[in-house]
Structures are given as structure tokens and as C-alpha cells.
Amino acid sequence: MHGLFKWSSKWWPGVIPLVIFWGIAAWTSTATVEGDLAARSNAALKDTVLDKRRISVDGRDVTFAANAFSEDGRLSAVASVDAVPGVRLVNDETRLVPEAKPFVWSAERDVVRVTLGGNAPLPSSKSKLVEAAKAGLGGVEVADQMALARGAPQRFDTVALLLLDQIGKLKDGKITLTDTKIALAGMARELGGREAIAAALKNLPEGYSVAANDIKAPPYVFQAYKDPVAVTLTLTGYVPDNNVHAALVAAAGRKFFSEKVVDNLKASVGAPSGFAAAVVPALGALSRLSTGTLVVSDREVKLSGDALYDAAAGQIRDGLGKDFPQGWQYKAEVTVKPAAAPVDPTVCQQLFSEILSKGKIRFESGKADIVPDSAGLLDRLIETAMRCPNATIEVAGHTDGDGEEATNRTLSERRAQAVVDYLVRAGLPASRFAPIGYGSTQPVAGNDSEDGKAQNRRIEFVVK
């Protein structure tokens, strides 16, 4: 031992090359050592959920910065790095992800994209939401502006996914989740979308509630176009259900005596209340126009077109709104068609016959009250009567063979008188018309069938 101590005093010259070796070793190995430690530290954190992870190595010291989602997670992440073999020190710069109070998440849709904003609790739920948005909205650009934060309510992912599903039903709008309160605003993509969203929101997990639902439905549009050239009535847009659909088409058939009804209607939910009660009289008003368009958009009825004569235009402008259910608005842009050229009485007679061969003036059963459905037909007759101002016209009422002849004659007289009264109210001089009731004395068909009786119940215009 003594020898070793004695010899050791002579070991010093080797220290000089040793220092040189050390210098070279330090020069060559530092970068590789640092790279290896960084790689193994990152590998040790592979399964740990962290945000903004940053690892830098200086010599054997690791500077570890990250945002953790819980205190336990933070401590275990630091311990994992500390346990990496070769690491000398860990400079712990980790923090907890900030807590959001209130925890707000939102999804906003505009024309071109869906923007996910606010906070998400974990990177996994953030990516899950982005993926779900991309998958569910097919082709729409998804912009991810979500930040990570703690403090999300329970079952956040489930709720956010359900809300994302609803954003697909919007044309534009925003859904905001503030803690457990949900606010929705915007415009539904389709009719019924608003109702579908409201139904889906009933499946929210317990504890969540809808604070505000301001989703608007697109306007409920019904249109009718009377085309005098093609002699058609085209119905487009929506009706609430098949019953209303059938009723409207039937009403159109009664009111438009000569036009073919082209039915392009579709049934859809979301109709304003009183839809049928407003549309049927509006169709009646349209039937009185020579050409015209009826547009019903939500509770607004717009009628535009040409009336056949002045008084009709006035009646249409003023009369229709009164029949509407409460809350409905009526706008009429009715002008008067230029008066047709006068014709001589023979032509007038032909025109009357032609009109009355297409449709019949109808009355309440057993009464002399003209049904409103006949207004369009009467307007055409009045227009024709105006074209031959010098002709005197016999308005002849006929009934079928049922019942007492005296009663039939009285009824036919009263009905002929009702028609003349109608013509006079339209501005024609009473002196030009002679109401006559023939009862069932001049049948045009046999009274032994319903069809024949229907043909016999009629009003005829005979130019004298």
C-alpha cells in the first residue's frame, strides 16, 4: 500500500494526455448523448396525455415543459422523465392546463365552413370532435380553433358530438355549450330541421339543458301560378300533410274551372298555423285574375296579377285579408287587364256558351246563394258582358226534375236573380239583364241519373 502511494506521486504525467482524451470525448459525445436522452425522454412520455410538450436537453439535464390535464398526470410525467437512465436533473417547467370557468365550447357554421371554437378538455376529444365534424358534414371545411382547458362538465364528449350532429342540420348558425347550458341560433337547412333539432336535444344527458333555442326555419313557401297561355295552374312548394294537399288540389279544381292543375306540391312539417284556411281563399282570389301569381311565405300572402275589370280588382284588394286567420298578412299587387275589344252580340253569345260549357255557376244546395268557388267563372262572364255593351242578356235559371215544379221554378228564378245581382254589383247596368226561372221545364239531359240531373241544374246566358 505504501508502494502504491509512492508510485502515485509519479502518475501525474499521464494526466496531460488524459485531459486531451477528455476534451475529445466531451467534444464528440455531447451532442449524441443529448440526442439520446431527448429521444428516450420523449419515449417515456409516449402514453402520457400532455399539451404543448417541449423537451430540451443540455448535457444530461432535461428541461421539460408541458401543460398537464391533472396534478397527478403532471407529477407522473415529471417522474417518468426523471426515471430515464442517464438523466441527471429535470428542470420542471410543467404546468396545469388552465381551468376554464365557465367552460365554453362552440360550433359555428357559415356558408363555407364549420368553425369549432372554445375549449376542449383533452387532445383526444378535440381530435374526435374534428374527425366527427369532417365525417358528419361531408366535404365542408372544418376549422379547429379549440383550446384545451380543464373544467369540462361530465359527458362533455357525448354532448358535443350530439351538438355537432345538429350543426349539420343548420344552413348557418352557432351552437354554444356553456358549462351545461346549450344555446342555439341560426337558420335550419330544411323545413322540419328546427323540429328535428328540438327532438334530438331531448336526448341530452341528464344535467344538461337548453338555455336558448333561436333556430329559425326557412320560410314555408307555397306558390300558385295561373298561366293564361298554357291554361294551367301550377302549384309548387309545401303543404303540411296529404289531407291538406288533397283539399287544396280539390279546391283549385273547383275554383279554376278551365285550367289544368299542375301539382308539384310536397308535404313537409313546419307549416304556419291556419295554413289551409288562408291558402284556400287566396287561391279563390287568384282564380279571379286573368294571369297571376300567389306566393305564400310563412304567414305572408302575396298576390299579384291582372284582374279582369275594375270592380274585381277592388274586391280582390280589399276583400281577401278579411278571410284570413289571425296573424296572417296580405299584400295584393293587382292591376286591371286592359279591356278587350268590343264584339257584336253573336260573338258574345258564343263566348258565354264557351265559358259555361267549361264551368257552371254553383249555388248552395237548395238555395240561391252563389258559392265563392264560382267567383272566377262569374268574372269571366262579366268581362264578356262588358264586351257587348248594347246586348240585352237573358239570364236563365234551370233546375233538375226533382221536387215540385213550382218550387223548382221559384228556385231557378231566385238563382237567376242572384246572378243578375252579382253582375250589377260588378258595375253592369241592371237594365241589360232579364232573370228568368224555367224550373225543370227545359232539361238538357235525362233526369234519371245523377249526372243528367247535374247537367240540368244550370244558369244560361242568352243574348237577345
Partner: protein, 98 residues
């Protein structure tokens, strides 16, 4: 530190062999040895460096370089001790033959 030896084991071996060579020579070397006083100071310095290493007060790369130096130095000393001891055995065995 040992986990990282794969990156510089060659230099550790070199330090060990250098020490072995130096120890081998030191037994028969006639040069002036380090004085007892110097030895004490050097030992003190070594202890101070060891203390600095174990207390990890030297930061970053300097800390790594210090550790590396101490490991190489320790192996050098071990090499020296083995070298001197072996040389001494060789010398003392050959002496009776003379």
C-alpha cells in the same frame, strides 16, 4: 452516467489503458514525484470536484463534462494502480533471479 457509456466507452477504455501504461512506467520512473503537499491539494481538489458532481451544482453541459472527466480520471487511477501493482510484481519477481 453508466447508461450513456455506449457513447464514450472507447474513451473510458483509453483512459484505463493510459492509466495502466502510466502506472507501469511509474514504478521504475526516476522523475521527481509530486510533493506530499501537492498531493494533498490535488486530493482536496478531487474531493471538491466529486462533491460538485454529486451535489449536481454544475449545470448543463459543464456538469456532464465534469462527470465525464471524473469517470475518466477514476478509470485512469484504477489503470495506474493496476499497472503499478503488476509492474511491481514483475520487478520484485525478477529481482531474486538477478
Amino acid at each position: 452516467m453508466m447508461a450513456l457509456a455506449t457513447f464514450f466507452w472507447g474513451w473510458l477504455l483509453a483512459a484505463l489503458l493510459l492509466g495502466f501504461g502510466m502506472g507501469w512506467i511509474a514504478v521504475v520512473h526516476r522523475a521527481q514525484g509530486v510533493s506530499r503537499m501537492w498531493m494533498r491539494w490535488l486530493a482536496l481538489l478531487a474531493i471538491a470536484l466529486l462533491a460538485a458532481s454529486f451535489s449536481r451544482i454544475v449545470p448543463g453541459r459543464f456538469g456532464y463534462w465534469l462527470d465525464l472527466f471524473l469517470v475518466m480520471f477514476a478509470l485512469y487511477l484504477v489503470g495506474c494502480a493496476i499497472g503499478s501493482w503488476l509492474r511491481d510484481r514483475v520487478v520484485s519477481r525478477s529481482r531474486p533471479a538477478n
